[in-house]
């Protein structure tokens, strides 16, 4: 199992991702922050990288991807979006 809590650069990177889940929209705070808190310890490295790519996008681009109005761009991001949609559905 990948251990993100280990000290050092990986932990710093993960804490940076936590901060970047802070958004302008409450609904994204709840969804992205909740998803990351729940899954940061278990996401595959490729999925974590996709999550970082997602966080670098404007809020409304993320909203559009989540609503299926904007293509995810690559297969890994598409899988992540699907996971987020599912997470949101059960929230």
């Amino acid at each position: 199992m990948f251990d993100p809590v280990a000290a050092g650069p990986m932990r710093e990177r993960f804490d940076g991702i936590s901060w970047r889940c802070r958004r302008g929209l409450l609904e994204l705070d709840l969804l992205l922050g909740g998803f990351w808190a729940a899954h940061r310890a278990t996401l595959r490295p490729e999925a974590t990288a996709a999550f970082e790519r997602l966080l670098a996008l404007p809020d409304m681009a993320i909203v559009d991807m989540l609503h299926g109005h904007l293509p995810a761009g690559d297969a890994e991001l598409a899988r992540l979006i699907e996971g987020l949609q599912h997470f949101r559905d059960v929230k």
């Binding site: 901060w19 970047r20 302008g24 929209l25 404007p58 809020d59 909203v63 949101r88």
Partner: protein
């Protein structure tokens, strides 16, 4: 300690800060923006409905009617000179945004699309006006990105993911910049500037049920209070009537503007009883209180009877998809209902802070001093939700917040240019310039017996319970006693992890200090105002009291002092709008 020097410094990367920064960046001056998140992730992005200006693109309109609606909407607590200024400047501010490239929605004739919003009228209280300019339901997003791009074009320097700690002032009261810390590295930074503007947004996260993003923690308000300066009208918090029940996310008033309406558990359109004329488009405070009463008197919907319903399905799936697409998705995801087929469960949610840092028309922070009650603090400005100019009075109208940002952001930027011209040289920094900011950081280097997250959760519960839609002296007094106990716990709080890099727990601790300061200002001010006006509803003082309370409150942290100053009822060029009963 690292030090950077600029001519002008903006704290906050939302719409207000970026509009002011743009005014400065277009000149030859150096300007920096400090933002705790990447600027386009500021809360301005959440403004769905639009920006109000009497363009008369859809129907007859005049800025004087807009002014009347804003004075009335604010229950006569707004300063009429500031309101006239905002409404007169509105059209030029909107056209300026259009020319910058803001992609407004369009009418068939190519003009900017406008929609009706609550509290708007024609001919001084007559028929519903159609005055709010919109870029679909993403006006705030469009505005923020337009202003950010313009700032990049004009080479504004951005300090992204920096958290401002405290103001730096000299012995004569001049503001000389701020101390800040990099969220990424934990390193402190002193940013020196001849003029500093606070545009840190609201503090809605002080309430348990709020539409505000997590970043809205009143950071500028805390800085001002720690500097010994006052906050104005902090008792006035707008509870938006239609937050998704149990979540807080906002369903814009535009949904009712497009024809949606509210129902109680009996299927009754209850707003017809509370506001026979405007009905579902009455002022936000009126609608929020009506919903609170319906719920309190047992006419709420659902198993718990804790919400009412917003019906949109009669608009048709095509109209909802075209005009309210974001609302539909939000409702499906967070409420589990498609508004094209079923009503959305909604309840009041803390949404907007009408009070804040007192300023004049130029955005200069003002405070009582030797020569009067409103003496400018040299070198210090504030704009946007963190400021109180005051145009929203006791209750803000929808569509006026984005307008406030751009009108007063531009005005503050213009005045800062004059200030820089008149004060061409930096003043010497005091020896202890960074002491207060560094002490704030050092305080969280120790471990403690209390946890920040637990205190934050309790603070939000406290404010929701003791300072919500309806208030009494007893409930507010109990709230202050609980806040005393909570502050004692805060003094014992510490962090388990005192590392530097992206230590978000440290930032949340610093934010909590600001939220506690905001909570105290709110409770003390709310207890002092023994009347009901706009968003401030006292069950023990249910009437508006113009004889005693046509005044602004001014709260100062030291000793919880509360002072007042009169509302400015005299506009700049037109006749005063005399106080009268506020009915819709």
């Amino acid at each position: 300690m690292k030090t950077r020097r600029f001519d002008a410094l903006i704290i906050g990367g939302g719409g207000a800060g970026l509009r002011a920064a743009l005014q400065l960046a277009r000149s030859d001056h150096t300007v920096a923006v400090v933002s705790k998140v990447f600027p386009t992730r500021s809360h301005t992005v959440s403004a769905q409905g639009g920006i109000t200006a009497a363009l008369a693109n859809v129907d007859d309109d005049r800025w004087e009617w807009h002014m009347y609606d804003t004075v009335k909407g604010g229950d006569w607590l707004g300063d009429q000179d500031a309101i006239e200024f905002m409404c007169r400047e509105a059209a030029s501010a909107v056209y300026e945004l259009e020319h910058m490239g803001l992609p407004f929605s369009r009418l068939d004739n190519g003009r900017i699309y406008q929609r009706p919003f609550g509290g708007q009228s024609k001919n001084f209280g007559g028929e519903q006006a159609t005055r709010t300019c919109a870029a679909a339901d993403r006006t705030g997003h469009a505005l923020l990105h337009t202003l950010y791009q313009q700032n990049i074009k004009h080479r504004t320097q951005f300090f992204d993911e920096y958290f401002a700690l405290d103001l730096v002032r000299d012995a004569e009261g001049y503001c000389l910049g701020v101390t800040a810390t990099s969220i990424e590295t934990g390193e402190p930074l002193l940013i020196e500037a001849r003029a500093t503007l606070l545009a840190t947004g609201g503090a809605g996260r002080v309430f348990g049920n709020s539409s505000n993003a997590m970043i809205n923690t009143g950071d500028g308000l805390g800085m001002v209070l720690r500097a010994g300066l006052p906050l104005q009208d902090m008792e006035f918090w707008q509870f938006h009537p239609t937050g998704i029940a149990g979540v807080g996310c906002l369903i814009t008033e535009g949904a009712r503007g497009e024809g949606g309406y509210l129902l109680n558990r009996h299927g009754e359109r209850f707003m017809q009883r509370y506001a026979p004329h405007a009905q579902d488009l009455a002022g936000r405070d009126v609608v929020a209180r009506a919903i609170a009463i319906e719920i309190a008197e047992g006419r709420g919907c659902g198993a718990q009877g804790d919400h009412v319903e917003l019906k949109l399905d009669h608009l048709g799936e095509a109209a909802i998809a075209q005009k309210l697409p974001g609302i539909r998705e939000l409702s499906i995801r967070f409420a589990g209902v498609d508004p094209a087929h079923a009503p959305i469960p909604v309840a009041p949610t803390a949404h907007y802070m009408m009070g804040g840092i007192p300023t004049n028309l130029h955005g200069q922070v003002v405070a009582p001093a030797r020569f009067g009650p409103e003496e400018p603090v040299p070198g210090l400005y504030a704009v946007g939700e963190c400021a109180c100019v005051s145009v929203h009075g006791a209750n803000r109208l929808g569509g006026n917040s984005l307008l406030d940002l751009v009108v007063f952001g531009r005005a503050a930027g213009r005045h800062m240019l004059e200030y820089l011209r008149d004060n061409p040289y930096p003043r010497p920094l005091p020896d202890d310039a960074a002491a207060a900011g560094l002490a704030r950081l050092a305080r969280w280097d120790r471990k403690g017996s209390e946890r920040v997250a637990a205190i934050t959760a309790d603070l939000r519960r406290l404010m929701q319970k003791h300072c919500g839609v309806f208030r009494t002296d007893g409930v507010l007094r109990e709230g202050l006693a609980e806040l005393d106990a909570l502050e004692a716990r805060l003094a014992q709080a510490g962090l388990q992890d005192t590392s530097r890099v992206f230590n978000t727990a440290r930032i949340e601790a610093l934010e909590l200090e600001n939220l506690v300061a905001v909570a105290r200002a709110t409770l003390v001010s709310a207890r002092a105002r023994t009347e009901s006006r706009g968003a401030h509803a006292r069950e023990d003082f249910p009437q508006r009291d113009d004889a005693n309370w046509l005044r602004h409150t001014l709260y100062v942290r030291e000793g919880d002092q509360l002072d007042t100053k009169p509302v400015r009822l005299k506009p700049l060029t037109v006749e005063s709008i005399k106080p009268k009963e506020r009915v819709y």
